[in-house]
Symmetry: C2
Subunit: 341 residues, 2 copies
């Protein structure tokens, strides 16, 4: 198992990315290929005394795609960008997976242009694991596409289901369609048409409509939606969590001695709870539907989340998610074509 | 100021609704007309010893619209439903505002059918105040409409701006368009076309695109979106907040003596913080764009949120939100018509 890590992508790159990769290598989660500015990567590695005893190599890439660049243009112009070089390593069979915490748009576009879509998949989807009390709910698409057609959402439901089963260990994943009410007749045109498709889809365990509140409660294993809605929800969750933690800290600081003592006594309990709800625990979101494993990590990824994303990449590859998706959607496509001939 | 309160709507109706109305009457926030099953309302009032000294009257309504009923059908069939009777009191000029914590769909439909739209408004919108560290962000539409056209969102931006200024005391409300990126070119077709409209709209202070995280952070005063997205976000926020509180309680219970002591010491601090973030503090969401004040309260409203919703209704009426909206959008419409003649 060899994983190409975009060392230059992310708010805390390259230091935290390299540190996470080293941690993963120490645990033998995978062989690591760090892709990016060789001098900078070497500097970061110098802080990790044992790195030369680990399975870590460097592939130099002289350019970086910034968060504010237009993804498609940047990918075309910067042939030597770290995310491009890393994705090509997968295309060329030199690595099994690519991981980036840089611009999501750039990682998605690189995957679409270089790895290409799996035959039978109209649109790849980002599947983000959202923490719940009992584990995670997979939310897809969380930002690869907007203005999706019902057929795209049906494919997402199948891909999400396959991933939840293969990687998240859900036996018969409960699939929900994100909507504004439980009833079949609720929602916008997209949701109503998608409901009809999912209801008749034998490849998934479609339970019905999921409302916003069902995501954090964990009432479904897979929640399918348009990438516009998924992306808004994902960023809203991040914003709410950070705002809430800041307010609690502020309140404790302003709360006098007893509040500070209380916070001190509660700390271990909240820490344990934090681990359960920590997005870093789940590391990365796979881009499902492209010909190769691309894992997208949060921009604010620290070493721990990179380590966990590497673990996720390993699980994706080990459990043959790619073959399972192709086995279903490519086969379906071929049958359609032969039926129409 | 006379406010018709749907006593039968809400998870804790009629008891909590009546209790909230009584609290509001005690504070002279408004004269209250409780609408619903007279016997049940009288029973609830019997628990409030001073109620006969307060300005509270009862208007009997023999039917109730359930949460699972189809709004338009139910409104047509149940002429004597509490929300219908209460809305008619506004239509007939007997009350200044109507308030319901029952089915949102029913309250919206009743308002649309009975009060009708303000001339120049294509689609009314629910404007929900979302708590932020510094106050609230008004999110609209949060569920009255789906598949909105850019023009509908432009009207929402104007109405939300007027409400934020008149009722929430924001001098020059910062208006944002909910989107998946900051750049003008980001988003789905609806968002891109709406951006162009809002950019050129001199009646509002359009700041640009808002991302999901900007809502809880309070980076905008008014955030405009399609009702599908707004409703998903609203319910997601509710689900996340309740799940988080349940998990904290559970963690404290499992955390032994020190966790319990810590929680005890922290309680006053968290309580103060809770007040800042409590949706009940903001009581209700106005349905903007209909000819009369309709305030929609959360289904799980308790007495406190009903009292605050009555306060919100009073502010709406007192600050002439209706005239301000008509003054802008009806006037705009007439100018368009006269220009085209």
């Amino acid at each position: 198992m060899k994983i190409a890590v975009d060392a230059m992508g992310g708010d805390f790159a390259p230091q935290e990315i390299v540190a996470g990769a080293v941690q993963a290598a120490r645990k033998n989660l995978a062989d690591i290929v760090l892709v990016g500015d060789e001098a900078k990567i070497t500097d970061c590695l110098a802080k990790e005394k044992d790195w030369q005893t680990l399975s870590i190599t460097i592939v130099h890439a002289g350019e970086v795609i910034g968060m504010d660049e237009h993804p498609a243009e940047a990918i075309r112009q910067k042939k030597d960008a770290s995310v491009v070089v890393a994705t090509k390593l997968v295309k060329d069979g030199k690595c099994d997976a690519v991981l980036s915490a840089g611009s999501t748009g750039a990682a998605v576009t690189a995957a679409q242009l270089i790895l290409k879509r799996i035959k039978g998949v109209s649109r790849p989807a980002i599947a983000t694991p959202m923490p719940t009390p009992e584990g995670v709910t997979l939310l897809l698409d969380s930002g690869a596409n907007v203005d999706s057609k019902p057929e795209h959402l049906r494919e997402s439901a199948i891909m999400g289901s396959i991933y939840a089963k293969a990687v998240l260990g859900k036996e018969n994943p409960r699939v929900g369609l994100l909507n504004i009410g439980e009833e079949e007749t609720k929602g916008n045109e997209q949701a109503k048409e998608t409901y009809a498709l999912l209801k008749d889809e034998s490849a998934i365990n479609f339970v019905g409509n999921a409302e916003g509140r069902d995501i954090p409660k964990g009432n479904f294993d897979v929640v399918v939606c348009d990438g516009f809605v998924g992306n808004v929800v994902l960023k809203f969750a991040e914003g709410l969590a950070t705002t809430f933690m800041e307010l609690i800290k502020e309140a404790v600081m302003d709360g006098g001695v007893s509040a500070k003592a209380g916070a001190f006594l509660l700390k271990p309990t909240l820490k344990k709870l934090g681990v359960r709800l920590d997005v870093d625990e789940y590391g990365g979101a796979p881009l499902l539907g492209v010909n190769g494993c691309t894992i997208i990590s949060h921009g604010s990824s620290n070493a721990k989340s990179i380590e966990n994303a590497i673990k996720a990449a390993g699980n994706y590859v080990h459990n043959n998610v790619l073959d399972a998706i192709a086995g279903h959607l490519t086969k379906e496509k071929s049958q359609e074509i032969s039926a129409s001939v």
